[in-house]
C-alpha cells in the first residue's frame, strides 16, 4: 500500500471511531426523550448504522470479495427470517 493511501486509511478509521462514539451518545440521549412508539425503532436504526460502520470499515467489507459479503449478509438475513417467522405465530395468536 502506498503511504498516501495508508494515511487516508488511518484517517478513515479515526473518523469511523468518532462517528461510533457520537452515535453511542446520541442513542443514550434519545432514549430519554419520549418519542412514543418510535423510541425502539430509532434505537435500532442507530444500532444498525453503527453495526454497518463497523462491518464496512473495520471489518473491511468495503474491500472484500463479493462472496465474503454474501456470507456476511446471509447470517443477518437468516436471523431476520427466523424472527419474522417466529413472530408469525406470536403476533397472530
Amino acid at each position: 500500500m502506498d503511504p498516501h493511501a495508508a494515511a487516508a486509511q488511518r484517517k478513515t478509521y479515526f473518523l469511523v471511531f468518532g462517528a461510533l462514539l457520537l452515535l453511542t451518545l446520541v442513542t443514550t440521549g434519545v432514549a430519554f426523550i419520549n418519542l412514543g412508539p418510535l423510541n425502539t425503532p430509532v434505537a435500532l436504526a442507530i444500532a444498525m448504522t453503527k453495526a454497518a460502520l463497523v462491518m464496512i470499515y473495520f471489518m473491511h467489507l468495503r474491500h472484500s470479495t463479493f462472496l465474503a459479503r454474501v456470507f456476511a449478509g446471509a447470517g443477518l438475513i437468516w436471523l431476520l427470517h427466523f424472527i419474522t417467522f417466529t413472530l408469525s405465530d406470536y403476533l397472530t395468536r
Binding site: F82, F85, T86, S88, D89, Y90, T92, R93
Partner: protein, 545 residues
Amino acid sequence: MSVIAETTVAARARPPRRHYLNVNYGVRSWLLTVDHKRIALLYLVSVTLFFFLGGAAAVMFRLELLTPQSDLFEAETYNKLFTLHGLVMIFFFLIPAIPAVLGNFLVPLMIGARDLAFPKLNLLSWYVFIIGGIFTLIAAIMGGVDTGWTFYTPYSSTYSNSYVALTVTGAFITGFSSILTGLNFIVTIHKMRAPGMTWLRLPLFIWSHYATSLIMVLGTPVLAISLVLVALERLFQFGIFDPRYGGDPVLFQHLFWFYSHPAVYIMILPAMGVVSEIVPCFSRKRIFGYTFIAFSSLAIAILGFFVWGHHLFVSSQSVYAGLVFSFLSMLVAIPSAIKVFNWTATLYKGSIVYRTPLFYALGFIGLFTIGGLTGIFVATLPIDVHVHDTYFIVAHFHYIMVGGTIMGYLGGLHFWWPKITGKLYPEGWARFSALVIFVGFNLTFFPQFILGYLGMPRRYAAYPDEFQVLNVMSSAGASILGIGYLIPLIYFFWSMRYGPYAGANPWDARGLEWTTASPPPTDNFDYKPRVSQSAYAYEEEQKVG
C-alpha cells in the same frame, strides 16, 4: 465367501506402494492426522460404534413392544432407551454419517484438491464429536436421560429426574463438530476446486454436500443456544421456557425445530448426492436433468428453514401460522419429486449393470418416495392433527432416515469401499444383505403407518391390546433388519484383509476420485488435476490431467 464373479482387468493390477493408509503407522499417526481421508476413517469407526449402540437400544425396546404391557422393562427404562436411540442415531450417526465419512473422504478428491481448506479444523471437529459423544455416553451410563431426543420444555428443564444437563452438554458440543464440517466444506467447495472444475461440472454429490453445509452452518447454532437455555433453566432456574417462571414452553419448540427440521435435510441431502453418483455409473449414462437435481438440493436446503412450524400444528401455535407453515411444507414436495423423477429417467435406455450399490440406490428411490409422499400427509393440517406424535410419524421419518439416509450411506460405502480400502467387498453377500435390509426395513416400519393411523401414540411403553399384532410384525422386522446390518459389518472386515485388490476404478466410473490410485496417496493425486469434461460423461472416455 464368493468373490465377485467377473474380475476386472484393473483388479489384477497391483496396489500402489505408498498410499494414505500405509504412509505411516501407529496410534499417533491416526490421532494427530490432518489427512481428510484418515479423519473420514476415524469418523467411520466412531459412527459405526454409535450406530450399533443406537441399534441395540432399538432392538431392546422393540422386544419390549412385543407385548402390550410394559413387562420386559419398566416404563422408565423404556423411556431412557428410546431417548438414547433417538439421541445417538440423530446426533451421532445420521447427521455425521454421510458428510463426515463419505463427504470428508470424497469432497477434496471429487473437486481435485489435496485436502479440505482447513485440515486442522477437520481434525478438531472429530475430537469435538468424540467429546460430545463421551458426555452423552457418561450420562447414559450414570442412569440415562428420559426426555426424548426433542428435550421438550418444561419436562426437560424442570420435571425430568434424569441426566438432562449432561446430555444437553453432549449434544451442544457435538453440534460444533457439525458446524466445523459444514464450514470446511463450504470454503473448500468455493475455493479449492481444480482448474476447469466449474460449478456446473461438479458432481451432484458435491452440490448436495454444499447444500447440507449451508444448513449445518446456519441451523446448528440455533440448536446450540436452545440447549444452553434449557441447561440454564435447569441448573440456575433462569426463566425462559417454564411457565412457572413466566416463560413459554412453545418458544422452545420454535427454537428447537428451526434447527431440527432442517437437520432432517442434513441427513437426507447427502444420501441424495450418493444416489446421484451411483445411478449414472451403473446405468452407464449421464444423469438426467443435472441442473434440476443440483438446484433442487439448494431449494430443499433453503425451503427446509421455512417449514419448521409443521411440527407445531397441535402445539397451540396460531391457526394463521399453521396455514403458512402447511403451505410452505407442501412446496418441499417439488424439489423432492424432481429428484426422484430424474433418477428414474436416468435408468431409461441405460445399460444397467447389477451391482450392490445400485440396489441400495434403487431401494433409496423407492423408500424415499414412500417417505416423501407420507410427508405430504403430515404437511396436510387435519391429517397431521390426527397422526401427530403417533406411529404414523415414526414410520414416516424412518422411511426418510432409515429407508433414505441409511440406504444411501450403505450404498455409498459399497460404492467407494474400493477407493477407501483398495479392496473389493464380496458381491454375493452384499446383495444378500441388501435384500435382507430391504425386507426387514419394510416389515418393521410399514405396519407402523397403520398403527399410527389407528391412533397408537409414540413413546408408549405399554399400549392397548388391539395394537399387538402390528407391533409383533414390526418387532419381527426389526430383528431381520438388525441381522441385515450385521452382515456388512462382518464382510467389510473380511474384505479389508482378504478382499481382492480393486484397482483404481473398478466400476469404470467417471469423476476425479476414480482417476487416482486406490487407496489414494496422502496428497490425493500424483498429477495436477485439470477438468475439461462435465460430470457423468459416461459416453466418453475419462479425460485426465
